[in-house]
């Protein structure tokens, strides 16, 4: 995909997983989210990453403005989460995430060395991170390719 001729938008947000769910239910929902993201985002040229930990989502979306806005609004309407808070929003020249790399990070899969810059692995709380930190955390994850890829 060439992005040179169109403006790109990047949004970083976090939100809270809504309601009480068993681990199995959560895993199931997250699978469904990853599946939908994989399927839909590629079609409209949206890339980015999703992180999930301790009941909180962090997500980066990048792509053509209209596509990102449309995707974001669809996500906004999702009842599975609430309190969507935008941490970063702005035009960018280049994508940081050239592929769609939705990653799932469960607390158990946290590796201290991966997140040593942003705090102890046991108390990793996305909601306390700034947009840049979420962005960097996700970026580090994808670069090191150590995430548990759920989406096939």
């Amino acid at each position: 995909m060439t992005d040179s001729d169109q403006e790109l938008l990047r949004v970083v947000y976090f939100s809270r997983f809504d309601g009480d769910h068993s681990d199995a239910e959560m895993a199931w929902e997250i699978d469904a989210i990853l599946e939908a993201s994989q399927r839909n985002n590629a079609k409209v040229g949206v890339t980015g990453a999703l992180i999930f930990n301790a009941g909180v989502f962090g997500q980066v979306l990048e792509g053509p403005i209209d596509a990102v806005e449309e995707t974001f609004d669809r996500i906004q309407m999702d009842d599975r989460h609430d309190d969507v808070t935008i941490l970063e929003l702005g035009r960018v020249q280049e994508r940081a995430f050239t592929n769609w790399s939705m990653g799932f990070v469960g607390a158990d899969q946290m590796h201290a060395q991966l997140f040593d810059r942003i705090g102890s692995a046991t108390h990793f709380d996305i909601s306390n991170l700034t947009g840049v930190e979420i962005f960097e955390a996700l970026y580090a994850l994808t670069l090191k390719n150590e995430i548990a890829m759920r989406a096939a």
Partner: protein
């Protein structure tokens, strides 16, 4: 159905799937009486079974079900399309003799022919393809569409009026966004709002955009609790951030609900009720919803009555001005009076300004009314000693009106009052909009010698910055600060801060609503230069001013505090 057994499979199948003859007739009777419209036709479309519900819904209940056997479906409903010879289920629409629209779904009967189930035709036009019914911006329906859908709903047969709840929706804070950003952004926001609204509804719900940022939704088949759920969900979803043109925008939505009822039997009345409820919901704080209640209507009627009466009252001069003295603290000299308006309503008696000024502002009557007050106040002041000034309240609407400066000049000329004896009191609200215009007006009036005070300082948007930004001659600290218990540290800090700033900028700082000697000495300690309030005197009639000045000798040090029970709100 389970796997066939290897042996005796036929007998087993039959035994488990077909009822015994006795049960079969029970089932048949049940199908005849069930409250779903059912019909069965042969391969040649002749009717072999039709149930009572089907007949009563389509207005044919006068005849026995059996009497239709042998006729074809098109004999009964000539506009029904011929059933296609297809294996898949097919839907068709037709109208009955009374013109009511219906939908029927035909499923092939494995033993031959078809079985049809009846359902009300969807109230929505099959697709929003008619450009005359579509709102171009959002792709939702428009008013014409709304009416069209409502009429279809009304034609559907049922006992009583259709089960419809109307929601009137209006965006909160849309206008500032539309003004601040480009109109393209505003349009984008409306489009996304429409998408969110649509996706929070069911297929059969009806939605239309009926004004700039106003929408109407008609819900069917929802009880009150379910309707509230819809309203709550919409309020929640619309309050979430929007991304438009790469910008983050946040708005809210207020909703009024009303149910179609014998009291509100048609679209216009139910929408009017929902709109009234919306108005109340806005007033109660945005982002919520309210059901219409009849007292809302009374209040609105009351308000409309006052609106009409106000217009007359301006012509008939049913108003009176009272005057409340203001005193300079260090000399205890009376410096002037604030003119306060009262309305002597022929039927309702005395009405205080808090009950009618906001209505006059909404309807525009404030402009002639304000001009009357200005003239009357200046005329009255001409009879006073030349060292006394008169303070006149000016509503923001009046102040921003194009005629305002002109009116002031005309009144000053015709009454011959020295401009420096006129003090115009404006409130913080006036400073919020139109900053440039307001500043220009203040400067123009001051250039002519007129004094400008900032009134009710401390309530509302209060910013000490206003004192820096605008050249006021006087700032009046709202009475709520003076009346706070003396122990209230914060109130007293605010008075102190305002007094200091005021003095630093060369303004006279007046404390309103001073009632007791204790408050007076406190106010003095904090550095205020003037006071007004019951401690000095309640508002008095123009005729009483003379006597007041005589008894006090223009020196208010000896006045006594008012008697208990005489107190009233000084702002009136």
């Amino acid at each position: 159905m389970g796997q066939k057994r290897k042996h005796n499979s036929d007998t087993i199948e039959i035994a488990t799937s077909l009822p015994s003859p006795a049960t079969a007739s029970n089932v048949l009777q049940g199908l005849l009486d069930i409250n779903v419209g059912l019909i069965a036709v042969e391969a040649d479309h002749s009717i072999i079974f039709i149930n009572t519900q089907f007949l009563s819904l389509t207005g044919l209940a006068t005849a026995q079900p059996g009497s239709f056997c042998g006729q074809t479906f098109s004999d009964l409903f000539p506009d029904a399309p011929i059933i296609a010879d297809a294996d898949t289920a097919q839907s068709a629409s037709f109208t009955d003799a009374a013109g009511r629209p219906w939908a029927i779904t035909w499923t092939r009967n494995p033993t031959g022919g078809w079985i049809g189930t009846l359902s009300p035709a969807s109230a929505q036009p099959s697709a929003l393809s008619d450009p005359g019914m579509t709102d171009d911006l959002t792709g939702l329906g428009n008013r014409v569409y709304l009416r069209h859908c409502f009429e279809r709903l009304s034609r559907q047969p049922r006992a009583g009026c259709p089960d419809v709840v109307a929601l009137y929706l209006d965006l909160d804070r849309f206008k500032p966004i539309n003004d601040t950003f480009s109109h393209a952004t505003g349009d984008g926001l409306l489009r996304k709002t429409a998408d969110r609204l649509r996706s929070s509804l069911r297929q059969e719900d009806i939605i239309a955009r009926v004004g700039g940022d106003e929408f109407v939704i008609l819900l069917t088949g929802r009880d009150d609790a379910a309707s509230e759920d819809v309203a709550r969900r919409i309020a929640k979803l619309i309050a979430r951030p929007f991304l438009v043109d790469g910008k983050q925008l946040t708005i809210g939505i207020s909703i009024g609900l009303a149910r179609l009822s014998p009291e509100a039997p048609c679209l216009d009345t139910v929408l009017q009720q929902a709109d009234i409820a919306l108005y109340e919901s806005k007033n109660a704080g945005r982002g919520g919803f309210q059901w219409f209640q009849s007292h809302m209507q009374e209040r609105l009627l009351d308000q409309q009555q006052i609106e009409n009466d106000l217009k007359k009252a301006v012509l008939l001069e049913q108003f009176e001005l009272l005057f409340q003295p203001q005193m300079l603290l260090d000399s205890t000299k009376i410096t002037g009076f604030e003119a306060l308006i009262r309305w002597h309503h022929p039927e309702r008696g005395l009405i205080t300004p808090d009950k009618f000024i906001h209505i006059a502002e909404q309807t525009g009557s404030i402009v002639p009314l304000g001009a009357w007050v200005l003239r009357k106040a200046c005329e009255t002041a001409c009879d006073w000693p030349a060292n006394l000034s008169v303070a006149v309240n000016v509503s923001p609407v009046q102040f921003e009106h194009e005629s305002f400066i002109n009116t002031v000049q005309l009144v000053l000329q015709s009454t011959n009052l020295d401009p420096s004896r006129l003090e115009l009191e404006i409130t913080e609200t006036a400073l919020l909009n139109n900053v440039d215009l307001v500043r220009a007006r203040i400067e123009e009036l001051r250039a002519q010698g007129v004094k400008i005070s900032l009134d009710d300082f401390g309530i509302g948007y209060s910013s000490l910055n206003y004192l820096r930004q605008y050249p006021f001659d006087k700032v009046k600290i709202d009475q709520s600060f003076v009346r706070e218990p003396l122990a209230d540290q914060q109130a007293s800090h605010i008075i102190g801060a305002v007094a200091q700033l005021g003095v630093a900028f060369g303004m006279n700082v007046l404390a309103e609503g001073v009632e007791t000697r204790e408050q007076l000495s406190k106010i003095r300690d904090q550095g205020c230069s003037s006071v007004q309030g019951y401690f000095l005197s309640k508002p008095i009639s123009a005729d009483a001013v003379d006597d007041f000045l005589k008894t006090t000798g223009g020196d208010a040090a000896f006045t006594t505090p008012p008697q208990e029970g005489e107190k009233e709100d000084d702002r009136q």
